[in-house]
Amino acid sequence: MVPTSTPHSNVSSEADAQRISPGLAMTGCIPSTETLRQQALQASWRRGRGVASRRLAWRWTLWYAQKPGVWAAVLGLGLGALLWTLWQPEAPLLAVTPPASAPAPLPSAPDAAWPMEPTVLIDEGGARLRWSALDSVPAAPLNPPPAPNESPLTLQLDTQLHIKEPR
């Protein structure tokens, strides 16, 4: 009588697994000890490489941090970069462009009789706002000259201010 047993009941080694079911170890059902060993070693190497790199980088950083010349160099480079950035008027750090939904508040027109339209001109330097007159209205100066004074100054040297004696 042939004893009946499940294929995995008496598996004691990789050789038994190969005898019972050839190729079983290759299918991944029962990984061989050699495969397990190599996978464990490779996983250990992967984890260890990152830990070793971080620890070594930290040791170098601590060592460099103890040197005053390094701090002076870092400060000098930082100050140089800051000054170089500030002394670039043609290239501002932040180019302001008017948002499409909320345009910038326009200055009120000096007179209702001057219907002016704001015109936004966008060029490489950012946004520039200028006033342009409507076509139907002739162009008028923004600041018209003041009207001549109808009452000329009547105060003279010999007027009442310096005259103490009653007339």
Binding site: L41, Q42, S44, R49, V51
Partner: protein, 135 residues
């Protein structure tokens, strides 16, 4: 599956590191001595409180996360990337990487390699022949 290679070493042969068959995994704590009379290898990623001794041959790899305390390590090839508190005897090659720390004495018979950032507090002794009169 992504394959990985053993850490880059200058003294310890890669095939010796790849042939290591015993592993104390990270997070595991092992107390006791590990001894063998065969040319085997062990890698310590966890905590080992005890010694490791190989009467002949042998490769000991202390990983970057490994800590060995109150120990005496003796083997042909010893690679220290973690922390070792105790004495170390390497019959062929002793290598301490930049992430390694050794608090104790070390002795070697043939070769030694220490990274400039390795931390060693102890004596380093060469046990081979030395001509004190000549070069």
């Amino acid at each position: 599956m992504s394959t990985s290679s053993p850490p880059t070493t200058r003294l310890i042969p890669s095939d010796k590191l790849g042939a290591i068959g015993s592993l104390i995994a990270e997070g595991a704590v092992f107390e006791g001595d590990f001894k063998s009379q065969k040319d085997l290898g062990i890698k310590v990623d966890g905590l080992l409180k005890g010694g490791i001794s190989f009467e002949q041959g042998g490769t000991i790899h202390i990983g970057p996360t490994g800590v060995v305390e109150n120990t005496r390590l003796e083997a042909d090839h010893i690679l220290i990337e973690g922390k070792v508190v105790g004495n170390v005897v390497a019959r062929k090659g002793l290598e301490i990487s930049g992430s390694g720390t050794l608090l104790g004495d070390a002795a070697y018979d043939e070769l030694i390699d220490m990274h400039p950032r390795a931390k060693v507090r102890g004596k380093i002794e060469y046990r081979g022949d030395m001509d004190l009169n000549g070069g």
